[in-house]
């Protein structure tokens, strides 16, 4: 008979959960150059990322965080805070959830969405730094594009649906109601479905 099995998570993730790195102590963020927060408590995940920046080189020198969420949310913010140190703002801005998941030694499919907020919060912190330092021109907004006009479904909604488990157009429709009225957006939605499946799950 087998003994207590392994966790649903990798050893790396378990280590970051048991001993999270770079937790922001207390509430004071005055010493930091950029602050970003994403998610909300009602949905079960919220993350705040704060960064210190070497203003000469545009390099992140410190990154701390707070997270409200499950083990994979905690571990992915912890691992992210280690990954960004020493990176340029531009390089850090382009860290994808998939890279975070890889760094953690993989995440179960239904947990991918827990790790997405970390890099979103990081991007918010970087944008916050630009704003504070008179570099508004560098602020990169998260582009939102309405795909399904009838139901007002955006590319972000489609990405979220993929992260939450939609793998086929039918499942996407079940989750978002996208394309359930006139159906004109079917091609574009399907292309995005494939794109996000590829980005997040390598499928």
């Amino acid at each position: 008979m087998l003994q207590a099995g392994e966790w649903a998570y990798s050893e790396t993730l378990k280590e970051h959960f048991m001993n999270p790195k770079n937790i922001l102590q207390g509430e004071n963020t005055d010493d930091f150059d950029g602050v970003g927060m994403e998610g909300n408590l009602q949905c079960g995940d919220q993350m705040m990322v704060v960064i210190k920046v070497d203003k000469e080189k545009d390099v992140i020198t410190d990154c701390q965080w707070k997270t409200y969420g499950c083990a994979s949310a905690i571990a992915s913010t912890s691992v992210l805070s280690e990954m960004v140190k020493g990176r340029t703002l531009d390089a850090a801005f382009h860290i994808s959830p998939k890279e975070v998941a890889l760094e953690l030694g993989g995440l179960p499919d239904h947990k991918i969405h827990c790790s997405v907020l970390g890099d979103k919060a990081l991007r918010a912190a970087i944008n916050n730094y630009y704003t504070r330092n008179g570099q508004e021109d560098k602020v990169k907004q998260e582009q939102v594009k309405v795909i399904c006009q009838c139901m007002n479904i955006t590319d972000h909604d489609i990405e979220d649906a993929v992260l939450e488990g939609a793998r086929t157009y039918f499942e996407l429709q079940e989750r978002t109601k996208c394309g359930t009225v006139c159906g004109q957006c079917k091609d574009e939605s399907e292309a995005l479905l494939e794109k996000y499946k590829h980005i997040h799950f390598g499928a």
Binding site: M48, A71, N128
Partner: protein, 400 residues
């Protein structure tokens, strides 16, 4: 305090009672098919029928009214599925095609109901109050000559709240409908007598009361129309096809016997432990709330919400300390919504994500409760220290 392995998840399942284990080990030699006429078969038959009498006795039923099934879920599926048949000779008849159930049932009732709704059955869901009690006025308003079946669970698995099944059954019968109760979490923990309750159908599961997994029983009152879910055999008087799980049935009967002996003195002990646990948590941890009914609830079950922390994180940190609990958080379930039971009682989604169910059993000791009370506060403190929920004002705005 030294590391202990502590099981606070008895509502999920229970360890085999040593007596059950003994009975089942002895019974492993018995392999005959109860349907066979030879000595092997007759031995198995005798044991299955003996078990049936014991289970019937335990809930005040007649042995003919007990059908052995594979699980509580199967029993619940069977009862609800009585209502999709459109044959005029069939049970509820075509006129009474509405089912009433509650928003806090086990998924095996809720999902079967949803499926029935797709197949033309009308399903209505009763609300519950903040303690998880069914709204009897609402039930009165829903009952009518279109209602064929009402299904209300006796004790809730997540918050432990008990319903007044006797009173509900009376109302249901007055309206001419049949009454089912999923008593999986109640039988063996509180006295259950089918005659006192008056119900037509009642579901029991063995593994919640120190019996084996994979076996349960459905009580169907004599004379109540019935139709099998699993067909193709004469077993269980043609009411449930499939060769009987003889070993499981043997174990279930022994589990029930042991409950008869141990249950009466257990409740007071568990109530005391629950009170200590509850008070300990209230005294040592700020910003918590207790879910479920304060008095009309299982003595074994305490459900607590911790503000600002997510349940799966608590569960896994406790697991590292040897303590097993369960949570109503979405993250632990693989879905995106937190506990449907807590949401139905009006608990805020955030607090539902931060809910932990402690469910105790016959072996839970004061020492284990004290261990939990020592381990839990630093874990909550630690998670709160890393939680955004405890940042006060302003920051959110600063990042925009």
């Amino acid at each position: 305090m030294a590391y202990m392995k502590v099981y606070f998840d008895h509502n999920a399942t229970t360890p085999l009672h040593p007596e059950v284990k003994k009975e089942m080990i002895a019974g492993m030699e018995m392999f005959g098919n109860p349907s066979s006429m030879h000595a092997y078969g007759r031995e198995a038959r005798a044991n299955v029928e003996d078990a049936r009498r014991k289970v019937a006795d335990f809930i005040g039923a007649h042995e003919n009214e007990i059908i052995f099934v594979g699980s509580g879920s199967e029993a619940n599926n069977t009862v609800l599925s009585l209502f999709v048949c459109s044959s005029s000779q069939c049970i509820p008849g075509s006129r009474r095609s509405t089912i009433i159930t509650t928003k806090i049932e086990h998924p095996c009732v809720l999902e079967t109901s949803e499926c029935l709704a797709h197949r033309g059955v009308r399903v209505k869901y009763l609300d519950v109050d903040r303690y998880g009690k069914v709204d009897l006025d609402q039930l009165a308003g829903m009952l009518g000559d279109d209602v064929g079946l009402v299904s209300v669970m006796m004790a809730n698995n997540e918050i432990g709240t008990l319903q007044d099944i006797g009173a509900i059954t009376k109302m249901v019968h007055e309206s001419g409908a049949y009454m089912h109760t999923d008593a999986v979490q109640a039988v063996g923990k509180v006295p259950v007598d089918v005659r006192d309750l008056g119900v037509d159908f009642l579901t029991i599961s063995a593994h919640k009361i120190y019996g084996p997994k994979g076996v349960g029983a459905l009580f169907v009152k004599q004379g109540i129309p019935y139709c099998p879910l699993i067909r193709g055999g004469h077993q269980e008087r043609g009411r449930r096809a499939g060769t009987e799980n003889t070993l499981g049935i043997l174990g279930m009967a022994r589990a029930v016997e042991m409950r008869m002996i141990e249950m009466p003195e257990e409740e007071e002990r568990l109530l005391h432990l629950k009170q200590v646990l509850r008070q300990g948590i209230e005294e040592r941890i700020d910003d918590i709330s207790i879910n479920g009914h304060p008095t009309d609830a299982l003595a074994s079950t305490l459900n607590v919400s911790f503000t600002g922390v997510e349940g799966e994180a608590i569960l896994l940190y406790l697991d590292l300390e040897g303590i097993a609990v369960s949570t109503g958080s979405a993250c632990a379930s693989g879905s995106l919504d937190p506990s449907h039971v807590l949401l139905a009682t009006g608990v805020d989604a955030e607090l539902a994500h931060g809910s932990i169910r402690f469910s105790m059993g016959r072996q839970t000791s004061m020492q284990e409760v004290e261990y939990l009370l020592n381990v839990l506060p630093p874990i909550i403190k630690r998670i709160r220290n890393m939680s955004t929920a405890y940042i006060k004002g302003g920051l959110h705005a600063a990042s925009r």
